[in-house]
């Protein structure tokens, strides 16, 4: 029996770029769940027109919250594997088979995309430095030895998706995820994925100055637990 693979895409004001992303994913034939995180534009309409499951947050709750909504929904729909994918076109469907392989062959519970293992990624120098610092911090804080962090291209087995419970609603969920992987002793593999930065994605994507905000969210979250 074919595994039921769900691709979860959190989207906030992505009406302009989402269509291209969904077109690129269409040949994969997997079920696509778009979580519209309280967008003010026609993100949900674009997703509906492309034959996706569409969930709409009535207010903007953040990427972590949107991902957890999509994962919860996918599990209730009977997903065997859940993939998380960005709505801005930075991720490439061509990396999907490599991301799924460790899960489908039961070698790992989670696969994590690693942009630094791919020669095709064009990470800007300053972002590369910030991501390296974040990687060291992640290793120190969670004890999970990862080569990349805050990369939204990931795949989860059903067991892993059921185990993960993101409580960090905003960007700090990426760091929280590593804590949960370690706490639940989930096995993981890193897979090379290509992240293409363009002026467009850099303009809307995470600002480097947000790094401190993410750090404080994560630390406060840990204290508040």
């Amino acid at each position: 029996m074919q595994p039921r693979i769900f691709i979860v895409i959190p989207a906030f004001n992505e009406a302009r770029r989402l269509g291209t992303v969904l077109d690129s994913l269409a040949p994969c034939g997997h079920r696509i769940v778009v979580v519209d995180d309280g967008s003010a534009d026609r993100t949900a309409d674009v997703a509906r027109r492309h034959g996706c499951y569409v969930l709409r947050h009535t207010s903007n709750r953040g990427q972590g919250a949107a991902l957890q909504t999509g994962i919860t929904f996918a599990l209730r729909e009977g997903a065997d594997v859940v993939v998380t994918f960005d709505a801005d076109g930075q991720h490439h469907p061509s990396d999907l088979p490599a991301l799924l392989a460790p899960i489908l062959s039961r070698r790992a519970d989670v696969t994590l995309g690693n942009r630094f293992l791919s020669t095709q990624s064009n990470v800007p120098p300053l972002r590369r430095v910030v991501l390296q610092v974040a990687r060291w911090f992640t290793r120190a804080a969670s004890g999970v030895r990862v080569g990349d962090c805050h990369n939204g291209y990931r795949a989860f087995s059903r067991r892993a998706a059921e185990t993960v419970a993101l409580k960090q609603d905003r960007m700090a969920h990426a760091s929280e995820l590593y804590d949960q992987i370690r706490a639940a002793r989930l096995t993981f593999e890193e897979v090379p994925v290509t992240i293409r930065y363009t002026a467009d994605t850099l303009a809307k994507g995470q600002k480097l100055s947000n790094s401190f905000s993410v750090l404080f969210q994560y630390l406060y979250g840990k204290i508040a637990q």
């Binding site: 979580v35 509906r48 027109r49 034959g51 996706c52 499951y53 569409v54 969930l55 709409r56 947050h57 009535t58 207010s59 709750r61 919250a65 957890q68 909504t69 919860t72 929904f73 209730r76 729909e77 409580k167 609603d169 406060y220 979250g221 508040a224």
Partner: protein, 122 residues
């Protein structure tokens, strides 16, 4: 007694009475804490030497330093408590928004040309 002392003692005393009323009505520990704080303020303003005596008893030279440190600690503690409460409320809002989103999830009709989604029954 200076004008400053008169005005501030009056304000603090009114607040102390209000805190006392609230404590009698609700029996909340928070109200009791505010009653103690406002009453302490009344005595500290009426007799500034009191804060110096309290400061000296814990090894601090000046009463004003003792008051400053105390207020800082209390303020940070209060801020942290508010943050915890804020996070709890935020999490509850997210859970509500999530369940609402799942309850109203749509998928397109089998006809790929459709422009409207149909509710998903889970």
């Amino acid at each position: 007694m200076t004008t400053f002392q008169t005005v501030f003692i009056a304000v603090c005393a009114i607040q102390a009475v209000l805190a006392l009323r609230r404590f009698i009505k609700t029996r909340q520990v928070t109200a009791l804490a505010f009653l103690a704080a406002w009453t302490g303020a009344v005595f500290a303003i009426a007799n500034p030497d009191l804060s110096t005596i309290a400061a000296n008893s814990v090894g601090i030279g000046r009463g004003v330093d003792f008051v400053t440190y105390s207020v800082l600690v209390i303020f940070l503690w209060g801020h942290y408590q508010h943050y915890l409460r804020y996070k709890r409320v935020e999490n509850e809002v997210t859970l509500l928004v999530r369940e609402l989103a799942i309850a109203h999830a749509t998928r397109p009709l089998p006809d790929s040309d459709t422009r409207t989604g149909s509710p998903v029954t889970t």
